[in-house]
Amino acid sequence: MTEPVIQIQGLSVAYGNHQAVRDVSVDIPARQITAIIGPSGCGKTTLLRSISRLIELVAGVRVWGQVIFQGQNIYDPRVDVTEIRKCIGLLAQRPFPLPMSIYENVVYGPRLHGRYNRATLDTIVEKQLRAAGLWDEVRDRLHTSASALSVGQQQRLCLARGLAVEPEVLLCDEATSALDPISAQRIEGRLLELKADYSIVLVTHVLRQARRLADYVVFMYMGELVEHGPADRVFHSPQEAKTRAYLEGEFY
C-alpha cells in the first residue's frame, strides 16, 4: 500500500445519544479511489463527512478520535477549519449549485481564498470545467444562471467548483445516485481520470459502482469498521463473515 493521505484513528461520532460511528481506525491511500461501502444507516456518510469536519454543521454532534491530514489532527482546536475544507473537497449526493452564474460558481472557492486576478480566474474556470467534462457544453453561456443546467450538468459543475480550490482529497457522497445512467457514467469516468492527481474517497451503496471504481475498500456495518483492504482482496476473498454476507446481497 502507498503512503496514506489521511489516517483516521479511533474516530467515534454521536448525534445526541445515537452513536453513528464507533471507534474507526483506517488509513486512506493517496491517489487512489477508496470506496466506503455498507448497508444504509451503517455510518458511512457520517464517516465521510467527518474527514473534512463538515459533520460539525449538524447540531448536537460530538466527535472523538483523530483524523490526521498533512501531519496534523484536523480536530485540533488550533487548526483552521476553512483551510482543511479547502484541501478536502466534497461532491454531495445531489448537486447544489450556488445561486449565481456558472462562472461564479466555479470561482466562488478561489475568490474566497484570495485569487482575484480576472485572467487567472478565467484560466481556472476553463481548466476545471474541462476537467469536469463540462466545458464544451457551457463555454458559450458561462454567465447564465447555474440553476438552468440539467441535473447531470449541475453535478459536473459542482465537481468543477470543488476542483477549483485545488484540493488534495475529494470526498464523494453517493455522487451519482441522483443522476441518470449516462450522467453517472460521465462522473465515474471523470473520477477515474482525476485519481491521477487526487485522492478520492467515495461512499456508495451500489456495489457494482464500487467494483468498477475502487482501488481500496472500507466496509462498515452498524457504525463499526468491519473490514478494509485493497479492492481485489476484499471483493474476491473477504475475511469477515459479515462482509461476505453483504457482498452476496444478504442485507442492504
Binding site: 483552521d80 476553512t82 483551510e83 474566497l112 481564498h113 484570495g114
Partner: protein
C-alpha cells in the same frame, strides 16, 4: 488568511451583541416604563391603582378601574362577536372550500390584516356608529330596553358596541389565519379514519379535527384577544372616551390605550400625570405579555400534539 478568520470572529461578536440588544428590547421597554411610573407607584400602590375608580388627576388620584373595565368591555364584546364567525370561516376554508376559492379568500383575509387602524376607525365613524345610532339603538330601546345590559342611555352611537364591532373585524384575520393553519396541520389519516366509520364531514370535523386542534384554536383566540386589548386608534375613534364604568353595551367607555393616546405629552404640567400614563402603558404591556406567552405555550403544545 488570518484576516478572513478575524472577519468571521468579528462578525460573530457583532451579530451576537446586536442580537442580545434586540432580544433585550422588551425588557428595556418594561424597565423604562417601570422607572418612569415609579413616582406614582411610590405614593399609590399598584393594587390600589388597578381597583380604584377615582380619576381626579388634579387631586393626584389616579384610579384605573374605569379604563381597565372599558378596555375589557370592548375587548370581550369584540371576541364574542368575532370568535364564532372566525372559527366557522376557518373551518370552511380548511375543510370545505374548494382549493380555488380558498386561494382567493385567504389573500383577501390577509389584506384585511394590512388595513391600517385609522382606516378601521374611519369606517367605524362613517358606517358603524351611524348604524348603531340610527337603527340599532332605537330598535333595541323599543324592544329589549328592559335588559340592563342593553339599556340605551347613550343615543350617540359612540360606545362599547361600536368599539366592539370595529375591533371584531380587526381581529378577524388574526384568528382566522392561525386557526386555519392549526386545523390544516391535523393529519389526514385521522380524517380518513373518522370518515371510514361513516361519519359525516361535520361529525368528522366536530369529533376529530376540532378536538385535536382545540389548543391551537384557543391560542388563536388568545392572540386575537391580546391584539384587541392593545388596539388604540380605531377604538379611540368610535368608543366615546368618557371615563366611566360602562353598564350597557351602548354606554360610552374609555379604554386604557385611548387614555394614553389622548393625554400623553399634553398634560405634563399636572404632577404625576405622566407617571400615571406610563403606569397605564406598563399595565397594557404586562397584560399583553402574559397573553402572548400563554398563547405561545399553548400553541407549542398544540403543534407537538398534532405531530
Amino acid at each position: 488568511m488570518r484576516w478572513r478568520q478575524f472577519k468571521d470572529q468579528f462578525a460573530g461578536r457583532l451579530t451576537w451583541a446586536l442580537t442580545v440588544f434586540a432580544a433585550a428590547l422588551i425588557l428595556v421597554i418594561a424597565l423604562a416604563l417601570l422607572v418612569r411610573a415609579q413616582p406614582l407607584l411610590d405614593v399609590t400602590p399598584l393594587g390600589k391603582l388597578l381597583t380604584s375608580s377615582d380619576w381626579h388627576p388634579l387631586r393626584g388620584e389616579f384610579g384605573f378601574l374605569p379604563f381597565i373595565l372599558g378596555t375589557l368591555w370592548v375587548t370581550v364584546l369584540a371576541m364574542v362577536l368575532s370568535v364564532p364567525p372566525c372559527l366557522l370561516c376557518a373551518i370552511y376554508l380548511a375543510e370545505y372550500a374548494p382549493p380555488r376559492l380558498r386561494d382567493t379568500i385567504k389573500p383577501l383575509v390577509d389584506l384585511l390584516a394590512g388595513i391600517p387602524s385609522v382606516v378601521y376607525g374611519l369606517w367605524g365613524t362613517l358606517v358603524v356608529v351611524p348604524a348603531i345610532r340610527g337603527v340599532i339603538t332605537p330598535w333595541v330601546g323599543e324592544h329589549l330596553g328592559f335588559i340592563s345590559l342593553l339599556s340605551t342611555g347613550n343615543p350617540t352611537g359612540y360606545g362599547v358596541l361600536a368599539g366592539g364591532v370595529v375591533l371584531a373585524v380587526m381581529v378577524f384575520p388574526v384568528i382566522i389565519s392561525v386557526t386555519e393553519e392549526v386545523i390544516r396541520a391535523v393529519p389526514d389519516g385521522l380524517r380518513e379514519a373518522a370518515l371510514a366509520l361513516g361519519a359525516t364531514r361535520w361529525q368528522m370535523v366536530k369529533g376529530v379535527v376540532l378536538r385535536r386542534s382545540l389548543p391551537g384554536v384557543i391560542a388563536a383566540v388568545v392572540l386575537g384577544f391580546s391584539r384587541a386589548f392593545g388596539e388604540t386608534m380605531a377604538v379611540m375613534m368610535v368608543v366615546g372616551n368618557v371615563p366611566q364604568i360602562p353598564r350597557s353595551i351602548f354606554d360610552a367607555a374609555y379604554p386604557l390605550p385611548a387614555l394614553i393616546a389622548n393625554n400623553y405629552g399634553e398634560m405634563m404640567s399636572i404632577p404625576m400625570y405622566d407617571a400615571a400614563l406610563l403606569a397605564a402603558a406598563l399595565v397594557l404591556l404586562l397584560v399583553v405579555l402574559v397573553f402572548t406567552l400563554a398563547a405561545r405555550i399553548v400553541l407549542l403544545q398544540a403543534v407537538r400534539r398534532v405531530r
